[in-house]
């Protein structure tokens, strides 16, 4: 029904009410054309179908953003252009999150970096037990900026709102470690513990059932009157005190020789994005604010020589560089 060089949107004859979107890129990475394909697929699903499932015929679900696509702009030091590219990724994430039909991510294998952010912004995820999910951007000297930090900040604020004191920080601390250390889950169950999957996301023990369960999930959501959540307008953030408290952990790790100076710089960027920037603790902000902070931190890191070296090394060797 819709196919580009990057994606294919299709339906099965017996499940014609739920559309399926599959990527065609190498390792199902997310380049600009895939982002446009996702946005187009959501629009078509909203118009013609009850729901959309993002599923790949073979793992991985997605190895993340296509770093090679960023390389020319990075070489040209076109940071304004790079910021626009990040903003477009964020638009894609928000499109998934606020789609008028349920979007279900059917995850099997790796869902890394931007792939993880697709999972986090889907209405639901259905994950095979053997799913390896993580925000690995720190490995290339970056932070998650496709809405991953924003989503963690929001989830922390929602969890804190259910507690007596309403303190966000205890909910951010473990997430910060996960992001700063680029931790990847060893299973779907661990992905839930790490916060990449929500309690409402399903784990499927037989990967062969993944597409079926994902379609059924999308259908059930649609038939139970699916409406996307209203965008939160008052997300309380940990702010500058939160950043300082996370920085305290980093100081100890750096002085103890456990992380490099650039690891420190990258992790501080993540701290800022997770805490909503240098605002007062408990300040209510909206998603746009959080997205702007993570975008800013991402671009500032791109400007650093060491992050550029990490990216170049990853593109050349496929392995992370510790510098």
């Amino acid at each position: 029904m819709f196919e580009s060089d990057a994606v294919r949107m299709w339906i099965a004859p017996n499940d014609a009410d739920i559309a399926v979107l599959s990527f065609k890129s190498k390792a199902n990475t997310l380049g600009p054309d895939v982002l446009e394909g996702i946005i187009e697929a959501v629009a078509r699903a909203e118009r013609d179908y009850k729901g959309l499932v993002i599923w790949q015929a073979k793992p991985p679900f997605s190895a993340g953003a296509n770093l090679a696509a960023l390389a020319p702009a990075l070489q040209a030091k076109d940071f304004a252009g790079l910021e626009k590219a990040v903003a477009r990724f964020q638009q894609m994430s928000q499109t998934l999150k606020y789609a008028q039909v349920p979007v279900v991510a059917a995850v099997s294998g790796m869902a890394l970096g931007g792939g993880c952010e697709v999972v986090m912004h889907s209405s639901r995820a259905v994950a095979a037990l053997e799913s390896y999910i993580g925000l690995v951007e720190a490995g290339v000297g970056l932070i998650p900026a496709g809405g991953g930090c924003k989503e963690f900040a929001l989830r922390a604020a929602e969890a804190a709102a259910r507690t007596a004191g309403g303190d966000v920080f205890p909910f951010l601390q473990p997430v910060f470690q996960t992001v700063a250390m680029a931790n990847v889950s060893k299973s779907a169950l661990e992905a839930r513990e790490l916060g990449f999957l929500r309690e409402s996301d399903a784990v499927v023990f037989h990967a062969g059932e993944l597409l079926h369960v994902a379609r059924q999930t999308a259908r059930a959501l649609a038939e139970s009157g699916w409406r996307p959540k209203l965008p939160p307008r008052a997300i309380k953030v940990a702010g500058r005190n939160g950043i300082a408290s996370l920085e305290m952990m980093l100081v100890n790790m750096k002085e103890g020789g456990m992380i490099s100076a650039h690891d420190y710089r990258v992790a501080k960027g993540a701290a800022s994005a997770l805490c909503g920037g240098e605002v007062e603790t408990g300040t209510p902000v909206n998603e746009d604010w959080l997205l702007a902070v993570e975008r800013h931190e991402f671009v500032e890191l791109l400007k650093t020589e060491k992050t550029q070296s990490r990216i170049a090394h990853m593109l050349e060797t496929g392995k992370p560089l510790r510098n």
């Binding site: 004191g165 303190d167 920080f169 205890p170 601390q173 500058r240 005190n241 939160g242 950043i243 300082a244 408290s245 920085e247 305290m248 100081v251 100890n252 002085e255 103890g256 020789g257 456990m258 240098e278 603790t281």
Partner: protein
């Protein structure tokens, strides 16, 4: 000497056994531990009218949650002291207990009170983190390089001291083993019996058969931390915790613990009025600041200061309770001041006996008092380093 108008005398001192974190005392609230030692210290001065107590000063390093709400006042009321007796909680981190003794003594020395209780209480079992219930650092700490040390964890400061004072891993481990050996021998010889007020712990547990809540009683008589089997070989296997290429391990650092201690101080007038036998005279207290990133060296500044203030020579001090926050800093202090190892922690220190933060110095004051009662010390000292960069020392003279 200072401009005091009268002496302050210690007539009683006692403590709980020290429990390992999440160990024997894990369910005992800090206000209950405090009440326990207050009751017992008063019991050691029979006949003394509790109405005369001017104040109860209680040290606590993390005075929040279970030990918040002015734990001093709650503890003294739970101990059954008259509600006319006031109480205040103070915090100088690890020196809180001896700071409490100094503040209490000062009220007597100034003639403003005749009877005072100084104490310390701390539960580390009930603290969710080493930094208390809520971690929140001031962002301004990172605005000036010289303040960044405030953000250092205590273990990292010990690594800095080990590096700067060239304290080897082998020396740290040997010091830790010695601490365990001394403590184990002291327990076996019954050296702590006089100072400890044993605790009867009542655990409320479900009896699933009957559906009732059952109360299980346990009597805790000894410190839980000392390990008779501690060895250099065993400790050498432990990995550094705070630095990738460091030397500070869980084995050569103090243990996290629960406990409380209390000290009863009176004026000469009260000694005579109630026919009380003093153990010691309070001779002085000093506290000094040092760079936060090497906080462990605090006693290097505090010890000479208190000795000078009291007009006492270091060689005349026969018993020094030097808190073993870390073997690295304890050794750095001992070497710099040339403290006689035979006089330092003769019954072991915090590496073996445990370190319930704000309670430790009150607990160790009880140890010094017991040594004086046994006739083993004329001058005794309680000294320690303090987080964020300080050192404190309190000096006592047996009478």
């Amino acid at each position: 000497m200072s401009n005091q108008i009268q002496d302050a005398y210690i007539v009683a001192a006692t403590r709980t056994p020290v429990g390992k974190v999440r160990g024997a005392l894990k369910n005992v609230r800090p206000d209950d531990m405090l009440a326990h030692v207050i009751k017992n210290v008063m019991a050691r001065a029979p006949g003394l009218d509790p109405q005369l107590i001017g104040d109860v000063v209680v040290g606590c390093a993390m005075p929040e949650a279970e030990q918040g709400m002015n734990v001093a006042r709650i503890g003294l009321l739970l101990a059954g002291l008259p509600n006319s007796v006031p109480g205040m909680t103070i915090n100088r981190f690890c020196a809180s207990g001896v700071q409490a003794v100094a503040l209490a003594a000062d009220r007597i020395r100034l003639g403003e009170a005749d009877v005072m209780i100084a104490a310390g209480t701390e539960t580390m079992s009930m603290m969710p983190t080493m930094m208390g219930n809520k971690v929140s650092l001031n962002p301004a700490v990172f605005e000036r390089d010289e303040n960044v040390g405030i953000a250092y964890g205590m273990g990292l400061t010990a690594e800095k001291v080990a590096a700067q004072w060239q304290v080897s891993r082998e020396d740290q481990d040997a010091f830790a083993v010695a601490s365990h050996r001394k403590a184990t021998a002291a327990i076996a010889a019954g050296k702590f019996k006089a100072e400890i007020s044993h605790c009867t712990v009542r655990d409320h547990v479900p009896d699933f058969k009957s559906g009732a809540v059952k109360i299980v009683e346990r009597v805790i008589e000894n410190d839980e931390g000392p390990r008779p089997d501690s060895s250099n070989e065993g400790l050498a296997k432990l990995k550094p915790v705070f630095a990738a290429k460091g030397s500070v391990t869980a084995g050569n650092a103090s243990q996290m613990s629960d406990g409380a201690g209390a000290v009863l101080l009176v004026s000469e007038k009260i000694l005579k009025q109630f026919n009380l036998k003093p153990i010691a005279r309070f001779r002085g207290f000093a506290v000094a600041g040092v760079p936060p990133e090497i906080m462990g060296i605090g006693p290097i500044e505090a010890i000479p200061r208190v000795l000078k203030q009291a007009g006492v020579k270091q060689a005349d001090v026969d018993w020094i309770e030097l808190n073993e926050a870390f073997a690295a800093q304890a050794l750095a202090v001992m070497r710099t001041l040339e403290l006689d190892p035979q006089k330092v922690n003769p019954l072991g220190g915090a590496i073996a006996l445990g370190h319930p933060l704000g309670a430790t110095a009150a607990i160790r004051t009880a140890t010094v008092m017991a040594a004086m009662q046994r006739g083993e010390a004329k001058f005794g000292m309680v000294t320690m380093c303090i987080g964020t960069g300080m050192g404190a020392a309190g000096l006592f003279e047996a009478v």
